[in-house]
């Protein structure tokens, strides 16, 4: 039960972060100047947008929620389940951000989600695992905020 609560909490806070950041950025100007001189301005613009700050807080919540999840659940259940955030992101994009999602994109999201589940459930990538402190180690390599790739540990 606690596992599922934490899975849902992780997924929704991670997707909430994505949706808030996307709302914050899409309601402002389109970034165009990425020369070294403009880069600082672009970063300042990003980190001072209110919605993006809220989104960042959601990412932080998702990270600690994932830490909690990894301490109570088996990795082979917990990590694949967080791939649900691809689906939640897409539903949020459709109904919160009012994006029009063509069928190809739905199909693509379904393939990506299935692929991610297959990849993360099948054990270690990138590291020969260190098992002394699995949650901390795994959380350092799985950034739930943007579903980073490496999954560690047996």
């Amino acid at each position: 039960m606690l596992t599922w609560v934490l899975i849902l909490f992780t997924v929704f806070s991670s997707s909430g972060g994505d949706i808030l950041c996307a709302r914050g950025m899409s309601s402002g100007r389109e970034l165009n100047d990425f020369r070294p001189s403009g880069l600082g301005r672009a970063i300042r613009y990003i980190v001072t947008r209110r919605m993006v700050i809220l989104g960042g807080l959601c990412y932080a919540v998702a990270f600690f929620s994932l830490l909690g999840l990894l301490s109570v659940a088996q990795l082979s259940v917990a990590v694949p389940a967080t791939a649900l955030s691809f689906v939640v992101d897409t539903i949020g994009a459709r109904y919160v951000l009012r994006e029009h999602i063509p069928w190809r994109r739905w199909a693509g999201v379904a393939c990506v989600t299935a692929g991610v589940i297959l990849i993360v459930r099948s054990g270690p990538a990138l590291v020969t695992a260190r098992t002394q402190h699995p949650p901390l180690h795994a959380a350092a390599t799985i950034r739930s905020g943007d579903r980073a790739a490496a999954v560690v540990l047996p």
Binding site: I46, D89, R105, S122, L126, V127, A150
Partner: protein, 142 residues
């Protein structure tokens, strides 16, 4: 017959997705290598552990690459759909698997390869859709 030139926005999108994916994959590789050199958290005093984290040659660059990935992804949101960006950045799982197989010499099991094929197929499908499906606020006539 020349192929139509990609629009500046399409080129920018491709570059930013590539930056996000590569920064994510290599950032994770460095974080994973760095954490692999750390002592067990429970076995050393907290301050030693903290010093170890900061002195580790892989962890700070790994964290910096993760920050680059996040900034690239958030920048993409200023012109591209969330439902376009998120599935495309999943290509980092493909790069990570290839890094594991060819750089670290891990045994990558068949289920993971099927996952790679599925993600590739999914990303191609999403990439065939328009980058943005609603007009940017700046383009909406007042």
């Amino acid at each position: 017959m020349n192929a139509p030139r990609p629009s500046p926005r399409a080129t920018k999108t491709l570059v930013f997705i590539a930056v996000a994916v590569l920064a994510n994959s290599f950032g994770n590789l460095m974080l994973a290598l760095g954490m692999n050199r750390m002592p067990a958290f429970a076995h050393v005093p907290f301050v030693h552990y903290l010093v170890g984290l900061l002195a580790n040659p892989f962890l700070l660059p790994g964290a910096a690459l993760s920050a680059v990935c996040t900034l690239a992804q958030i920048s993409l949101f200023s012109w591209a759909d969330l439902s376009f960006v998120i599935p495309c950045t999943a290509a980092s799982y493909i790069v990570t698997t290839l890094l594991g197989e060819f750089i670290l010499g891990e045994q990558v099991e068949w289920a993971r390869w099927i996952g790679v094929v599925l993600i590739t197929f999914g990303v191609v499908l999403v990439a065939k859709t328009p980058v943005a499906t609603k007009p940017h606020p700046a383009e909406i006539p007042c």
